[in-house]
Amino acid sequence: MIAAWTLFVLGTGLRLVELAAPEQKAVCVAAAVRLPELSPKGVAAARALVEALWEGSAAYSRQRWLGEGALVGVLPKVELTDDALLIRLATAPGRHKVIASFLADLLRSPALSTEAVGGAIQRAREDHRSLWERAVDPRVAQWESLTPRDVARLAAWLLRPDRVGVAISGPFQPGEGRRALEVRLDDWKTSARPAEPPGLLGAGRSELPVGSSRFFRWTAPWTDLSDRGMGRVWLVASALGAGKGASLFRTWRVEDGFSYRQECRLEGTQAGVALRVLLGKAHGLESVPDGWRRLLAAVGAWTEADRLRALAVMGRQGPVPYRDGALALTGFDPTLLEPVDQAALAAYWALKTGRPLSVEAWLAEARATPLEEMKALALDLLSKAQSEDSTSSSNSG
């Protein structure tokens, strides 16, 4: 049984979810900040902001975050997705007030001096993400003319209670976690809404990277964020990509020797979520269209065993030693995550939908989806998926 999160909406509009989890060995907090569509310059500013937030706040330095995380073996994390900026922190049981202070202070008073942001821009610009990481987030960043002031403006515009969801979970009494965050965030009133940061919002551009491997991406949008909708699309994603028994691994890697790494991901987007198939391939690029056809044929041949395997993978509990696909919601797979990742997903979901995360409800809907419906949905999504690739691109990623 997966425990349920409880949602609270503070007077400022900030959404807060709490989960009292007596068996959890850490207290986890997370924040999700809603991102609009960003122009290439806006992408650069957001990546620089992530770097700057890593340095902590005026009151709590990065070393202090690391020290808290070290108490439970969890590395703090700040990351960017298509539609959110996510912060995850954890500490030892009993320290929920401390970690709530960290998070609140980071949201309210990030260390964004001109010097600090200048350094953050420099580091973010180096963009030493691996090829795969760049394929996962291929948004183009435009660094020319980006200034620390742009980053500070973006931060001021984003870090506001009505754009933020926070979550807390851990071995505390129900209500304790909520109060720890509430007392530090309830009076978070920002001044009049700042003007949109000029040049940072608007249409973006994506370019899949080119390196020793090329990348192929197929995207099918999904807008039904109800429990039923999420249960169905998660089931399809799991049958396609979760585990080594999933169609992507079986068809492309085991049966064809076609690729080493391939993933099906559910990712948050501005419009809802998207089911994405991602493939890295270095040799025999001309065989990709045929590989795609073989995948569709494999999906068409799904049996009840495939459905049951997908459900078993979705329902498994506890940590797993790897994440191998069907990573629901921008790298999250709700049942496979460490508690700190669950907290980030809960914060994100509350922000995105105004509802508390209920993975159990998604699972119930997935279980109620019969084979033929699962197959039809998968084929529909895959046949309509928009494809992109880096084979004809001249960029170096």
Binding site: D256, P319, P321
Partner: protein, 386 residues
Amino acid sequence: MFWVPVLVAWLQEPGGAVYGWEDRSGARIQVRTLEGAQVAALHLVVGTGGWAESRERHGFRHLLEHLVALGPERDLDRKLEAVGGGLTADTYRDASHFRIWGPAKAMGTLVAALAELLRPPMLSEALIRRELAVLREEEELRDSESLAGGLLWQMAFGEAGLDPFGDLEAMGGASPEQLQGLWSALFEGRNLVLVACVPDRPQEWADEIRRRVSWPRGDRRASVQRREARPFAWARSDRLVGEYRAAPVRGLDSEETAEALAGALLLSSKLDGGRVLYTPSDLPSLVIVGETRSSRRLAEAWQKALDGWRPADGAAAAQWAARWLKSQLEDPLRAGLWYGVAAVQGRASAPDDLLQRLRGLGSDAVRRGLERFGADKAYLLTGEGR
């Protein structure tokens, strides 16, 4: 190999009750109870049996690992996933590691999967070619950390430190008969250790393993490889990004291993994208610290850590390192690699001994560990490639 962020756990002692026995084949089995564990994991550790990588057969063990992990019917992972479990496999320099895991209530399926894994693999030219195609794709997707580890080991130990990933050209020459021979040499009782990490009912697990698993037998006496560190060196590579420094250490539970681990954790905490890389082994080995995002900041961070040294930093780092190892030894998904590699190398208690050393580590010792990553005391690798 695995990367160690700045980590840790706490709570009670690792290990718990251990059932251990030696099968008639010579295989050694441990059943460890890790109370509160959410999953059970069976770790099969296969020693190298003295079978050294060489230029001519560089990567044969990796190729064999890929083929064995599929199971004789090529459906092992599917069977495990059907009960909410899974299987992973990795090839290290001193052992291969197969991890079968899943809910404890699926004991029968997990143990049956282990029994299947120990059956001779299906090998044919076609299967080998297919797997080689996968490995060629894997090679192109390797990240900087993985490449750095491979290069540093070779700088430090020459041919005895060859990257276990292997050489695709050499692997291309592998025949089914050669791989069958390698399987027979490696998968024989004396060269096998099973560490079962279970949340409860250890006796039942032990009985199930005794009842269902048939251990391959051979007549070879497993021997341990030797390797010696070479003079320190510096290299650049345009295939990777970052700066990496590797300190040579001897023995899993040696004083210098403990010092270097704590020093590396301290240094990594001061870096963007800082990482520590250590593969458990009782042979001469490397503790690697890496700055994965730039080739310019590690030296500066190291100097600053020494110049601004405070005994409190050392004490904190020693605590981190001890807590990190404790968290590893309490994790059913990770503990088996530590105990398994130590057992296959003949010193089953070495991980616990290392933990004791880390717990007793003083601030001065951590400083010595940090000093091991100085430019004149470590292997250095930089890259500004992809």
